[in-house]
């Protein structure tokens, strides 16, 4: 791809930007209303307005730039610890703690030491306080 660097090192205070030509990127993804509904129910996020959809499409466009990189024969890395025995485990010992008691005090609704949830298999229909668009744009 054609990447034009304005500066090859970053120092605080200076702006670094690059630009990739549109012609080398895949076609721009359009989010259909059906897909908006599906994503809203899967993620319990309310973004079903034009601003929200635009924001999502821009985010996808930004990620599209990765397609310019040649990854033939390269396995994706999902952890820098992929080859080291970094996973530490613990022995099968019981530790008693009063976390549940504290949690039950915090819950708004309890019935005899049970937490209470509104009924229904899917919480999507009764999502309380979904993320606002502003919060989404911060991610």
């Amino acid at each position: 791809g054609q990447i034009q660097n304005q500066s090859c090192c970053y120092s605080p205070g200076s702006k670094v930007s690059w630009k990739i030509e549109n012609s080398v990127l895949p076609q721009r993804t359009k989010i259909s209303p059906d897909l908006v509904d599906k994503l809203e129910s899967l993620a319990l996020v309310d973004f079903g307005n034009q601003e929200g959809v635009n924001c999502l499409e821009e985010a996808i466009r930004f990620a599209d730039q990765l397609h310019v990189v040649n990854t033939d024969g390269v396995e994706p890395m999902d952890s820098v610890l992929e080859n080291s025995a970094a996973l530490r485990w613990r022995d099968d010992n019981l530790k008693l703690d009063d976390c549940a008691w504290e949690l039950l005090q915090l819950a708004t609704d309890t019935v005899e030491e049970y937490f209470v949830s509104t009924q229904g298999q899917s919480l999507a229909a009764q999502s309380e306080l979904p993320l606002t668009l502003k919060q989404v744009s911060q991610f």
């Binding site: 599906k38 129910s41 899967l42 319990l44 999902d78 952890s79 610890l81 992929e82 080291s84 025995a85 970094a86 996973l87 530490r88 485990w89 613990r90 022995d91 099968d92 010992n93 019981l94 530790k95 008693l96 703690d97 976390c99 549940a100 949690l103 039950l104 609704d109 019935v111 005899e112 030491e113 049970y114 937490f115 209470v116 949830s117 509104t118 009924q119 229904g120 298999q121 899917s122 919480l123 999507a124």
Partner: protein, 534 residues
């Protein structure tokens, strides 16, 4: 065709649980009773969740117990409080490796953890930590058997491929309160370690699936990695069921859930196979849906709303680096903390004797028939009982097994009792068999004593034999006299015997036995009567 909640099906006969009943070679046998489309067969795969037997949970140190006060075994991580992190339980890794080895799997030296996202009230994090990309064990096999054939006494052995075994978290429990339209959540079970064992669709009917589950249960119990108590939810079975004609592409499959006892495994699957065949036969189509088994009606009913395919948005678990296990002590890199190492060879060396090996040993050591050793290993505690009797009696194993299976187990089943509730101990049975061996009583008398022992367990065997007056008559003269009397009283029968019909001798024998209340040795009586009627 619009799906109804439960199709009224023609009643399945007991034969319906036999393998192959749905093929045309058997449909003629059942003509007039139920109609089976020619040559369609069931295709069954299983996903089995086995709760790992451990003191603490998979990623937290809270306890694992079935009945505990609600929300008393919940660590902050289990409740998904922000700032908590998963810490893997070493015991769970060992348990899954041992299970993988027992099921002939390849153990992945490196395996990965992922998040599976969906929202449900009993899963506070909004995702479950599982192993979707690279599980701990893959490509195994399970050999299982069941008693088939017309008399259910032939051991039929089958194989099912194990696709994989993965470690994952259990969810909490939700209790639905329909009156107040709310759901009560208990997080005691949230985060308990599970091994999900995926069996390929190599099975054809409920009986095969039930036998495979039973064998897996026995193996897990032998290993101690899972106690397999289905009633307590330690072993949960979901079935993937479809039907097709052999050679044709596989049909649309449905998932059957809520099978919570070993009995229901076969029932639920057979119902679903039958239901699908009837739908297709009447020109309908099978929906790719999830159905729940309703034990009251014996039917499967649609479970979830049709919201379209669920998208779990799998992603690597960022808080857990890859899980490494090592082949041998030699392959462990230098400088690694020994407490942080699981070595496959070490676990292989301490694997206990698996059920299949035990069965073969019983056949070899005691000369038992395969179907008998199958029953001994299959019934909880029966093998130990049998071996205890063998130790205390001079009777041959082949004789002992008859008593243990026919008389003891038969009576236990008839009365709905478990072996632990048996009124007859192994010592008592051994004593009875010794008295029989020494020739003091006949076999038929021994059976009578057995029944009395069942009713009066507090009385000793010797006491009962004496009280019932069942000792064999040893006085030869007395026996001869009785036989003479019977022969003289039945001249017609004697004439028929002398004319060539030897079967009538049995009638005379029966009369002698009745007169002597079974206190004569049948072989001896036969000899005497044969002489007298020659």
């Amino acid at each position: 065709m619009t799906p109804k909640t439960a199709l009224p099906l023609t009643k399945l006969r007991g034969a319906a649980t036999h393998r192959g009943v749905y093929t045309s070679e058997h449909s003629s046998h059942l003509k007039g009773e139920t109609y089976y489309p020619p040559q369609m067969v069931g295709v069954v795969g299983l996903e089995i969740h086995a709760q790992i037997h451990a003191a603490s949970k998979l990623f937290s140190s809270s306890g694992v117990r079935f009945s505990a006060p609600p929300n008393s075994l919940v660590a902050c991580f289990d409740a998904s409080l922000p700032g908590t992190l998963p810490v893997l339980n070493r015991r769970c890794v060992e348990a899954s490796v041992m299970t993988g080895l027992a099921l002939n799997c390849t153990i992945n030296r490196k395996s990965l953890f992922d998040r599976k996202h969906y929202f449900y009230a009993d899963m506070p994090a909004g995702y479950q930590i599982t192993q979707q990309r690279l599980p701990i064990a893959v490509n195994g096999s399970l050999t299982y058997s069941y008693l088939g054939g017309r008399k259910r006494n032939q051991v039929v052995t089958k194989n099912v491929r194990i696709k994989q075994i993965q470690l994952e978290q259990d969810s909490g429990k939700s209790l639905h309160d329909d009156h107040r339209n709310q759901t009560l959540i208990d997080l005691n079970r949230a985060g308990v370690g599970l091994m999900e064992v995926v069996m390929e669709a190599d099975m054809e009917c409920g009986e095969e699936a039930a036998a495979a589950v039973r064998e897996l249960q026995l193996i897990l119990q032998t290993l101690g990695t899972c106690y397999g108590n289905m009633a307590e939810g330690q072993l949960r079975v979901d079935a993937n069921v479809s039907v097709h004609r052999p050679g044709e592409p596989l049909g649309v499959r449905t998932e059957v859930k809520n099978i919570n006892s070993a009995r229901y495994v076969a029932k639920a699957i057979d119902y679903e196979i039958q239901r699908q065949m009837e739908v297709l036969d009447t020109g309908g189509t099978i929906l790719n849906e999830t159905r729940a088994f309703d034990s009251k009606s014996g039917a499967t009913v649609p479970m979830r709303d049709k919201e379209g395919l669920q998208d779990y948005r799998f992603m690597p678990e960022p808080n857990l680096p890859p899980l490494f296990v090592y082949e041998s002590v030699a392959s462990v890199p230098a400088g690694v903390d020994p407490t942080q190492v699981v070595v496959i060879d070490r676990l292989k060396a301490i694997l206990p004797e698996l059920p299949g090996v035990k069965r073969a040993q019983l056949v070899e050591e005691y000369g038992l028939l395969p179907e008998h050793s199958f029953t001994l290993v299959n019934e909880v505690g029966l093998m130990d009982y049998f071996e205890r009797v063998i130790q205390k009696t001079k009777a041959e194993p082949r004789k002992v097994i008859g008593w243990v299976i026919k008389e003891l187990l038969g009576n236990l089943n008839q009365n709905g009792l478990r072996l632990t509730q048996s009124p007859i101990s192994s010592e008592a049975l051994a004593e009875l068999l010794n008295i029989l061996e020494s020739g003091h009583i006949s076999t038929s008398a021994a059976k009578v004593v057995f029944q009395e022992m069942w009713k009066l367990p507090e009385k000793s065997v010797k006491q009962l034999v004496a009280e019932l007056d069942l000792e064999l008559i040893s006085d030869q003269e007395q026996i001869l006299q009785i036989c003479r009397r019977v022969v003289d009283a039945h001249p017609e029968e004697v004439r028929v015997i002398r004319a060539g019909n030897k079967k009538v001798l049995n009638k005379l024998m029966g009369i002698v036995q009745k007169e002597t209340k079974g206190r004569t040795d049948p072989l001896q009586v036969r000899r005497i009567l044969e002489e007298m009627t020659s």
